[in-house]
Each structure stands twice: as C-alpha cells, then as structure tokens.
Symmetry: C2
Subunit: 285 residues, 2 copies
Amino acid sequence: MHKKDIMSNKQVFINDRFVPLTAASLQISDLSIQRGYGIFDFFKTVNGKAIFLEDHLDRFFSSAAQMHLDIDLDRKAILKILEELTANNQIPDSGIRLTLTGGYSSDGYLLNTPPNLVISQTELQAPLVLQDQGIKLMTFDYQRQLSGIKTLDYAMAIWLQPTIRQAGAHDVLYHNQGWVRECPRANFFIVNHDQEIITAATQILPGVIRKNILSLAAQGFRVVERDFNLEELANASEAFITSTTKHILPVLEIDGKAVGTGRPGEVTTNLFDQITAIVKKQAGL
Amino acid sequence: MHKKDIMSNKQVFINDRFVPLTAASLQISDLSIQRGYGIFDFFKTVNGKAIFLEDHLDRFFSSAAQMHLDIDLDRKAILKILEELTANNQIPDSGIRLTLTGGYSSDGYLLNTPPNLVISQTELQAPLVLQDQGIKLMTFDYQRQLSGIKTLDYAMAIWLQPTIRQAGAHDVLYHNQGWVRECPRANFFIVNHDQEIITAATQILPGVIRKNILSLAAQGFRVVERDFNLEELANASEAFITSTTKHILPVLEIDGKAVGTGRPGEVTTNLFDQITAIVKKQAGL
C-alpha cells in the first residue's frame, strides 16, 4: 500500500479534537500562515514507546513560554492526548510533532488570541544502525534568530535547498562570522586530536540528543560545550551531527574537504552506540 | 453590523477557486505552518480602485522568484482573479493580500510541490488626512533575513510586541549594529538640518511608498538613498515611516527622546500631501 494511503486514515489532534489527517487544516488568519509565527517540537516513538519524551516536553513548554504562547494545557493533559493519539493511530515507529502557532489573529499581526495546537504522527524508522556513508555539509554564514527557541522559522534552510543541492552537499552548517553554530535541524560536534568532543555553547537550539551526549561526560567521555570557529573545525579529526531523526550521523566532508580520514571515526561510532543503547532501552528492545 | 458579520460572507481565492472566508484554510502540511516559508504582498483599494497595483505585483512576482516559488499564474491571470474577487466582495476601501506559501510538502521540509496561493480582501480605510499625533518608536538591534524579499517571517516583530508595549512605543525600528534599517512593516526616513530626506539603501525591504517618495526627487525634493546610523538619526530634524497601510506617519519620539521639535515637520507634511495626491488621483477622488 502506498504511504499516502496508509496515512490517510490517521488522526491528528487540533486544539480540542481528533480529525482525520486529510481534514487537518488551519484557517488562513493563523499567525503561522500570516507571519510565520509559532513553535514546535518533534519526538519519536520506537516500538510504540516515546523516546526522550520528558526532554521534548520540557523544550516544548519552554519554547511556548519564551515565544509568549499561552497554552492552557499542562503536561498531564498533553500526555493524555498523546496516549489517545498513539492508541488511535497504531504506528509503533513514528515521529510525533507538536506545533503551537500564534493562533487566529484578529488583524493578521497582533498576538492576542489563544494559540492553535496541532499534534500529528507520521511513520518514521529509528536509525538503530550507524549510517556509515555519512553526509557532506556546506558552510554558510547565518545566525538563527531567537536561537534558543524551536520556532517555525526555517526560511533560510528552505531557501538554501537549491544551493545545497548545487554544492553536492546534503545539508548546511551555519556559522556566525566564523563561529560554528548548528545545522538547520541538527546540532553539530567535532572531535579534536586530543579526543575532546566539542559542540557550540551559544546561539544554538538546545537539542535533545545533544543534551544526552553532554551527559555522557559523566561516563568518562571528554565532552566540552564551548564555541569554536571554522579554523578549529578545519583541524578536527571527526565531525558529526545529532538530531532526533538521525540520532548521530558522521560528517565526512565539509565544503568539499574531507573531515579527518574521510571515514566515520572511532569516537563518533562509540557515541552512536551509547545513544542507540539508551534509545533501545527506552523502547524496550 | 459587526465587522465579523460583514466579513463572513466575503470570498477568498485559494489556488483555483473562491471560497467563503470562514472556509478558507490550508492543510497542516503547508510549508508556512510547518516551516514559516512563504511570501506575500499587500495593496489597497480606495474608492474601488487598486493603488500602486503594478508596483505591488512587480514585488509579488519578484519575491516569489527570489524565494524559489514557481507560481504558474502570470500577471494577466492574477489581474483577472483580482477583478473577480473585488466584484464578488464589493469592499471599495480595502486591503488585498496575496500570499504564496511553500505548498503542501511531502515531508514537511522539502520545497518540492507547487506553492499555495491565497488572495484575501478585508475592509481598510486609506489615511487621507495626516495623523499628526504621530508615533513613538523603540530601537532594536536586528537584521531581517532575506531582507529584499517580502517573506512571511515576522517572528522577531511579533515576539517583540510585549516589549514594545512595555516601552510605551507603537512600533520597533530595527538597526543592524547601529545602521538604521526599517520597521517590521514600514520603511523609515529622516530629514536632516540641510532638508535632505534620507532612507537606508541596503538590507531593507523595497517598499512601494518608499519607491514613490524616491521618485519625488525628480520634482525638486532632495531625496537620498544611503545608509545612516543611530548617531545621524539622533540629530535628525524630522523622521517618518512609510507603508501601504499608513502612507506616511510622522515619528515624534524614538527611545523616549523627541525627534526635532517633537511635532510633525514641514517636509513630512509636504511629502504626505504629495503621496496623498497621487493616491487620490489613482482612486479617482
């Protein structure tokens, strides 16, 4: 069966009810359509179990509060909706997106009405094996606005899609005048020749996999949260990105130049195994 | 009758058909809802006549092309839809918004489907008398991304709304590390003590009223398009903003400090009269 057919009978939660995906829509006065205004979060279920759920809900409520979006549902209410949604849809390996927009604005500009909440679920396989072909990145000088908030603003990322394709890259790595930040949907790490694992400290989205990698420092990994520049990146022995979708993905080439040996490194592989072990445990696998 | 009741039977054009405003919606896979991706333009009708229509359509098609949005309607087709829309709705004094989003994305990220076009019309009075109470602005260090394109990205402007209110200001004036740019929905001009009318040259949205003011240079006004900084702003004798909605609005106070005498200046008033005369002529008034 075509994926679209499988999905068409799935349910989406909008504000106070479940509707079929095909009927899931927002009126045009919504501030996401009018002004690109809103936040979201995205987590996975593996084997029917939500992965790093508390981290994602923490960030969802933090993004909402920072973005002045007053959601009148608390964590318990969201958990109840998620329970019902997953029971309805029966997609054991999935991605679940919680979107909170600026709501139906009286004049298409003022933030003065309750936000709209959309919770949707789509099929998604967890990467439980390291994708050792890795990815190629191109660098681009850009600083995400409101960087600590998971906003809907991916204007630059989407706009760059043709440029990234033309460069023969898989994704873009943002830097702010030389200071390495992140990819549009992933945090970025390097490993240096002292086996230090380094990720930017400021002006980035606090990723959930990133947070879990930082916590591995307690287990003997030398993980450092500090800003670094393109020069230090050029001397890295390994590089990888982290995201909810990909967990950890080796970065083998940046701007056409190989990173280290040009193959997935030992530290990257080791960290992938650590994170995968945590995911499998949460999934009961 | 309440405005909502008047509007509820009005028509909105979406992609290939007219629908009632109450039924005008986009599915949640639209890239505006998923990623804040899209462009728009906005023009007025006065006395049933579209004002500066060619300028707005020029910018609409320019924004679409720059944003990689392939609209399959040409100018003639858009004009035909506008004709039908205004005939249906019968709102002589109105604002008409053309929105073009990234379309229904297969995975909520890839720009690989036709855009969605929404054309809506709402009541709006043209300001044909100078609003001489003027406005107060607060400055804020921020550079709009993709600044030459009229994108949907107003994340910072909406996010700042509580801050602007707390500052007792009406709107925000963006500057990029001291270089004055624009307001979220308006261009910004100063008049210096040599009676030069100055507006930023780079990293701003090319406004339609701004363009028409620049063209007044031919009629003896000393209009200069060049970047200027906060220091030069502090020494201005007059300041004003320009926008489709407001035409020209005097700025009387910035960051709590009076601009010039703190009253609308002679040049501002004169320019307002010039622009109003053009609008009235186009409106057949």
